[in-house]
C-alpha cells in the first residue's frame, strides 16, 4: 500500500548511467513500485548517414556506432556486404576476425566488470579490473593500430596480418587474462558485501526472458541457452569449439558469472585460433558496387545479438541500412527487472546495478526519437520528412 509516492528520475544525466536514457521510477520510501522508460537521447542519424556514403566509407561509420563493441558492428557490416555480393572471404581472414572479435569481447566484459563494481561502490575491484584490461587494450593496439576503433575489417577480409611474434605476445596476454579473471571470480564469490548486493537482485525469470526476447548474457543468465555463435555460426565459429556459458540463477550474480566465464572462454578461443590459423591471404578484392538485393547478417556482440539489414540498389552506396543493437532487445527486460511485484521487492539501491547488469550501451540503441511537448502534454512521432519540413519552416 503506497502512502505517498514520488518520482525519481534516473537520467538523462545521472552518475549511474554512462550514456543518456531516461528512467522515471515511482518510489515509495526505498521501494520502487513502477518504472517508465524513454529512449532516444542519443539518436545520431547513423542510418541516414550510411545512405550517403559508399560501402567502404560506411565501414568506419559503423565502427563508431559504439566504442565498446565496435568490432561487432564492423564485422556484421562487412559480413552483410559480403553476403550481398555473394562472395566468400579467405579462411585466414575469418579466423583473424574471430580473434579480434573475442579480444573485443574480453575487453568489453572486463570493462563491464569494473563498471559493475563501481555501481555497487566497490571501487577497488573497478581499479584492479581496468588495470588488467589495459593489457588487452595494448594487445589490440599492437594488432590493429588503435586501442578503441580497430578498423581491422574490410569488405573482403581483414586489413592486417599477424606475425608469430605478435601471436606470442597475444598468447602471453591471454594467459594473464585467464589468471586474473580466475582470481576475480574467486575473490568476488568470496566477498560477502558484494554477494549481498547482487544475489537476488534484478531477477528476470526464464519465461520472462523468453517472452520479452532478451538477448546476450542477460538471457543466458536466465537459463535460456541462446548464442548466435552456436545457432547460426558465422566467420570461423563453425570450426572453433567453445562452450556455451549459461547459468540459471536469473539474478545479477548470474549475469556476473556468465560474463566472467565468457571471458575465460574467449581467452581459450583466441588461443585456439592462434594455434590453428590456416595460412593464406587475409583479404580478397571485392567489387565496390553491390548488385540489387537484400541481405541480413547477425553476430553475437558482447551484449547480445546484433542484426544488420542491407538493401542495395546496384550503386556503390547502400539504399537502406538498418541496425538493431542488443540493448534495444534488453530494455523491456530491464523494465521487468525493476518492477516490484509480490514478494520480489526492488529498492532504489538496486537500480544502478540492475541497470548495469544488462550492460547497456545506449549509443548503440537509439534509432528512433519520440517527441514530447510537456506544456501541451502531447507525445508524437515524426518521420524524417516531417522533421525536415519542420526544420525548414523557420
Amino acid at each position: 500500500m503506497a502512502f505517498s509516492t514520488f518520482e525519481v528520475p534516473v537520467g538523462p544525466q545521472h552518475p549511474a548511467l554512462k550514456e543518456p536514457e531516461n528512467f522515471t521510477f515511482t518510489v515509495d520510501g526505498e521501494h520502487v513500485v513502477g518504472v517508465k522508460l524513454r529512449i532516444g537521447y542519443n539518436h545520431r542519424g547513423i542510418e541516414k548517414a550510411a545512405e550517403s556514403r559508399t560501402y567502404i566509407q560506411n565501414l568506419y561509420l559503423m565502427e563508431r556506432i559504439c566504442g565498446i563493441c565496435s568490432v561487432a558492428h564492423t564485422t556484421t557490416y562487412a559480413q552483410n556486404v559480403e553476403y550481398a555480393l555473394g562472395k566468400e572471404i579467405p579462411r585466414r581472414a575469418e579466423y583473424y576476425r574471430v580473434i579480434i572479435y573475442e579480444l573485443n569481447r574480453i575487453h568489453s566484459h572486463l570493462l563491464w566488470l569494473g563498471v559493475a563494481g563501481h555501481e555497487i561502490g566497490f571501487d577497488t575491484l573497478f581499479m584492479y579490473v581496468w588495470r588488467d584490461r589495459e593489457r588487452v587494450m595494448d594487445i589490440l593496439e599492437m594488432l590493429t593500430g588503435n586501442r578503441v576503433t580497430y578498423a581491422i575489417n574490410t569488405i573482403g577480409g581483414v586489413r592486417r596480418d599477424i606475425t608469430p611474434e605478435m601471436a606470442d605476445k597475444v598468447r602471453k596476454s591471454m594467459d594473464l587474462v585467464e589468471q586474473r579473471v580466475t582470481y576475480y571470480k574467486k575473490a568476488a564469490a568470496a566477498e560477502p558485501t558484494l554477494l549481498t548486493r547482487v544475489k537476488g537482485v534484478g531477477i528476470l525469470r526464464t519465461e520472462d526472458a523468453r517472452r520479452l526476447c532478451a538477448v546476450g548474457p542477460t538471457t543466458r543468465a536466465s537459463g535460456v541457452k541462446f548464442d548466435v555463435r552456436a545457432e547460426d555460426p558465422y566467420a570461423a565459429y563453425d570450426e572453433v569449439p567453445f562452450n556455451l556459458v549459461s547459468y540459471d540463477l536469473c539474478d545479477v550474480l548470474s549475469r556476473i558469472l556468465v560474463r566472467v566465464d565468457e571471458t575465460l572462454e574467449s581467452a581459450r578461443i583466441v588461443k585456439y585460433c592462434l594455434d590453428h590459423m590456416p595460412s593464406g591471404p587475409v583479404r580478397v578484392k571485392l567489387p565496390r558496387t553491390v548488385p540489387p538485393g537484400e541481405s541480413v547478417s547477425r553476430t553475437e556482440a558482447p551484449r547480445g545479438e546484433v542484426i544488420h539489414y542491407l538493401r542495395a540498389n546496384g550503386t556503390d552506396k547502400p539504399e537502406r541500412y538498418k541496425v538493431r543493437s542488443p540493448t534495444l532487445g534488453n530494455l523491456p527486460s530491464v523494465c521487468e527487472m525493476l518492477t516490484s511485484k509480490g514478494d520480489y521487492v526492488v529498492r532504489i539501491a538496486d537500480i544502478p546495478i540492475a541497470l548495469a547488469s544488462i550492460d547497456p550501451c545506449f549509443s548503440c540503441t537509439d534509432r528512433a526519437a519520440h517527441f514530447v511537448d510537456p506544456s501541451r502534454g502531447k507525445e508524437w512521432s515524426w518521420t524524417f520528412e516531417q522533421i525536415r519540413k519542420y526544420a525548414r519552416k523557420d
Partner: protein, 110 residues
Amino acid sequence: MFGEVSRHLLRKRATILYPFKERELVPLPKGYRGKISFNRDLCVGCTLCAKDCPSNACEITKDERGNRPVFHLDRCCFCGQCEETCPRRAITLTTEFELAAYDRSALVVR
C-alpha cells in the same frame, strides 16, 4: 580480498606519469595509426584517396603538377583507408599522436 589489497602496498603504481615524466613508457607499436605523412613525389593525382575518405578529411586541390590531396587532421578519423587505397603508397600513417594545436592551420598536412 584483503591479501591482494595489502600486497599492493609494496607494489609499484600502475600509472604512467605521461606526459610529464615517463613518455618512453607509453606503448606505441609500429603499426599505430597516427599522423598522416604525405610524399608529394610519389602522388600521381588519381584522387582515389578523397573518394574513400569517410570524413572528408582528404581534399583535392591543384598545384603545378596536377591534382594532389591536402589532409585536414581535425576531420581525420585515422582509419588508414587512404593509406590502403593509394596505388603509389604516397600516404603513410606515422606513430605521432600528440596533435593538439591552438591554430587550425597547424592541422593541415600538405
